[in-house]
Subunit: 530 residues, 2 copies
């Protein structure tokens, strides 16, 4: 059992920050939670990034088996402290025990998935174009390629997933899997959880005999330490999940560096749901509306994929959907939000919605008993107001939904076309709606990283086909995902080896293929077992 | 045979620009070449990007067979005008006929390689995670993934490869292969060549029945039209080959957009060559030096991969290498450079070298008879001067080489560690050098996109394993390449499909696999023929 120290962990060493800090806060009561987390100063931060830079060569030289074993050890060490981690996360976040127990499993499952990805080794993208000494007019050299890690990565923990998108979450797991040391800036909404998980990772680093600089965890102010971390020349990429303002500040800092670096910021999304007529025909409106409100209010609506904007057709079935959704929201009770600040931002966002021309408040639930548990809200509006009033399509982080009524399919398509980039778009469709859905698909593909049918966007499966990403401003870089095995590609770059003697070639590019990789030879995939 | 018009080609229509323009210039004589190319104004540019945006859905919906046939048709149409294209390129660029004939073949070969890449379809990255309805505690949805094109791409032609890195060069070929319409900003150093190639592409678009907006070619001032093109909200990515200042200006413009977009700028590199002792032992110094000077002066040194900086050991063998290289440079005659401006920049760059403390001019060749044919230059210096004098490691575009003498391996490694990112690093090594080379490899991998042994970096093979890229400032984005089949990934993004009904799934994600793709099922590659 780990005792909390309030310290950062710099390359394996618990380190008291030289600046005053802050303590965790119990979300449900507003009470301060021991201990106080001191903040690192610039020199301490630089010690962490320097250690990461110094650990880079040794860490990236690990074999797939070694690196996979390390990732599995991280999962194991987290599980060893699982009860304490979940208990502290419940206190700090106000999220329910069941949710956080599930999130812990998701976090360790994610680490194990990346261990398997590393073992399979397809991310190394082994490519061989053999020499053609007799080609005319010029012979072709022997050229090989593999992916190498970018270098030390800075990860910013998210408020709303204190485990799965935080210290040992998807960004950290994919960066470590790629061979990049990681410096995590803890989210100050769950410092104790962060320390516990960071301590588990640190144990895994030591147990696997890796250089301590492979992992550091620092506490500090989001603005100053965050900016300093992104500006540090030793940092080569950044993973972030959070607000649009926070993400854009990091993007700007990275772009202003002498050497620009990629920032993978997952920011804001209202996750449009398109209700097509067949899906609410034949008395199905009420059932669909109930399911909608479950997704809307799940986890107090604090999901990046919360369905904020729902397009419902005009007419009696749509009226029935809206009425049923309004009843369900009216019956709902607010749940504790992650922090006072987040609850206040929810209030500001819902006030902006109420004040927007053409927006009608359809229902409000009851505020919860605990602190920071504002009432869920349901509003409705028109496609005209969606177009004219910015507040309608801006993310309100929390359980606030806007139903946009649409008349014909052209009006719907125009409204969708006017939206910004999204993490997800959901289509509710019966078989009779497929013809319309087919015409909408190309448009939806330009708007979101994930398209789903007859489900709800909350709940992001960790797998090989998942995309948790999308066009700006859903993310700062639509070419990738922050969930799923594809995420490892964010932290790599290709290197070509031309006529490099066999004894100097990296394992991933060798003809004897010691790692048993699938290889692309002259452009054609060749499976290892062939 | 095409008659030159001096017009831009906006979505298939030859269009006189509304602004005054400029004519091509014969590099070897300085004479103006008919016709004058008028420049597009903002509205005309917007017409091109709007047509590209409107063509996007239809173009990206083409099947692999259709898109591959189009790319092959482009190659065919270029070949049909091959003689005229090469003749005009010779006049405009001053490059020799043989070189440009080869470059034409490289350009059409590149288009055909991408046709084959499109047919194989691995770039679509078909991924399927099948549903697990019985999984507990929660069932897993059916999730599939494919890559989709980003949208219209802006391409900036390079001065030094009027064919292979220009109107229908690698950026255009890879963007078209990915399914992105392209708007090319012609390089004003070879406008007639650009028009001829652009006309060929336009014929291919029409012959294949594609929307005319798939391709436009605009003439304009680099600064104003370039900036306007990158700022245009319809443009979703940018390909550029040219100077560091030019590339960074585009990067800054893209970062300042409301929606930032990726800029793939291939900029500057001095392509270090590391001569290890064994490679010049036993009387091999003279032969290696002769080969070095051939690479240094090839094409008047106007290659992104020109070996600008060569690390030669102290001692008699290194002295012999330097002396032999000096003799070869002294015997060399300047060849016509691409433009007067480029020749002047070469003069400034060599003046800065001459003026740098600790730099000795070892040899100068003779200027050429034609215009803009400055004398090749060879200088030598120390690792201390390399560290202290910025001019030593800055690219001088043209036939200017600096030999850096080093004492021991630590001094060499420190000098290499101090370098910026490069396109290539070359190692000259005998078997006896492998031990030292092995210790240098991890460092070299962090410095360059391509590592080659016992060859010369000029000459970039178009293939599947090639990387023509590297850490900043060699490029603005080290995660990719501008040459070779991997380049197609620059213009794509992943989309996930969750529980999408089978009749609405894109072909690339379907179980019946109509395109015969290799697919990744539950994380494991499955070849189509299995």
């Amino acid at each position: 059992m780990t005792t909390l120290t309030g310290h950062s962990i710099i390359a394996g060493s618990p380190t008291a920050g030289k600046l005053p800090g802050s303590a965790g806060v119990a979300a449900a009561t507003g009470e301060s939670l021991e201990p106080t987390y001191t903040y690192v100063d610039e020199d301490q931060l630089a010690a962490a990034t320097q250690a990461a830079a110094e650990a880079f060569d040794a860490y990236r030289a690990t074999s797939p088996a070694e690196r996979a074993a390390f990732l599995e050890r991280v999962a194991h060490e987290i599980e060893a402290d699982g009860e304490a981690i979940v208990a502290r996360a419940v206190a700090e976040s106000g999220l329910p025990l069941g949710r956080l127990t599930g999130e812990l499993g998701r976090t360790t499952g994610q680490l194990r998935m990346f261990a398997e990805v590393v073992r399979v080794g397809d991310h190394l993208e082994s490519r061989i174009d053999p020499a053609l000494p007799d080609r005319s007019p010029l012979p072709r050299a022997d050229i090989r390629q593999r992916q190498v890690p970018l270098g030390p990565v800075a990860v910013f923990g998210a408020s709303n997933f204190p485990l799965a998108f935080s210290v040992a979450g998807g960004d950290t797991a994919s960066a470590l899997a790629a061979g990049c040391p990681v410096v995590v800036k803890a989210h100050n909404a769950h410092p104790g959880t962060s320390e516990l998980v960071g301590t588990a990772v640190t144990r895994a680093v030591a147990a696997c005999g890796l250089p301590a600089g492979v992992f550091s965890l620092v506490f500090g102010s989001g603005t100053s330490v965050g900016q300093a971390l992104v500006r540090d020349p030793r940092i080569k990429a950044v993973g972030f999940t959070g607000s649009r303002a926070g993400g854009l500040a990091l993007v700007a800092a990275a772009a202003a560096r002498r050497e620009p670096i990629p920032v993978y910021a997952e920011m804001s999304s209202v996750n449009p749901v398109v209700v097509l007529p067949g899906s609410i025909g034949d008395g199905r409106a009420e059932g669909l509306a109930a399911a909608y409100v479950v997704s809307l209010t799940l986890g107090s609506g604090q999901f990046c994929t919360n369905p904020g904007l729902t397009f419902v057709p005009a007419g009696p079935d749509g009226d029935a959907f809206l009425a049923a959704a309004a009843r369900a929201v009216a019956d709902a009770t607010g749940q504790t939000m992650l922090t006072t600040g987040i609850a206040q931002a929810f209030g500001k966002g819902t006030d902006a919605l109420r004040g927007a021309a053409g927006v009608t408040v359809e229902a409000e639930g009851a505020p919860g008993q605990a602190a920071n548990a504002p009432a869920p809200l349901l509003a409705s509006t028109t496609t005209a107001a969606l177009r004219d009033e910015a507040a309608v399509s801006e993310e309100v982080f929390g359980a606030a939904g806007v139903v946009v009524r649409w008349g014909d399919v052209n009006e719907l398509a125009d409204a969708l076309r006017g939206l910004e980039g999204q993490l997800t778009v959901t289509v509710q469709a019966a078989d009779s709606d497929h013809e319309v859905a087919r015409t909408l698909m190309p448009l939806l593909e330009t708007k979101a990283g994930r398209i789903l049918f007859n489900g709800w966007p909350t709940g992001v499966e960790v797998g090989h086909a998942m995309v948790h990403g999308g066009p700006f401003p859903a993310t700062s870089d639509p070419r990738t995902t922050s969930v799923g095995s594809l995420a490892i590609y964010r932290f790599q770059r290709p290197v070509a080896y031309q006529d490099v003697p066999a004894d100097l070639l990296p394992e991933a590019t060798r003809d004897d293929n010691p790692w048993g990789l699938n290889q692309r030879v002259d452009g054609r995939l060749r499976l290892a077992q062939d």
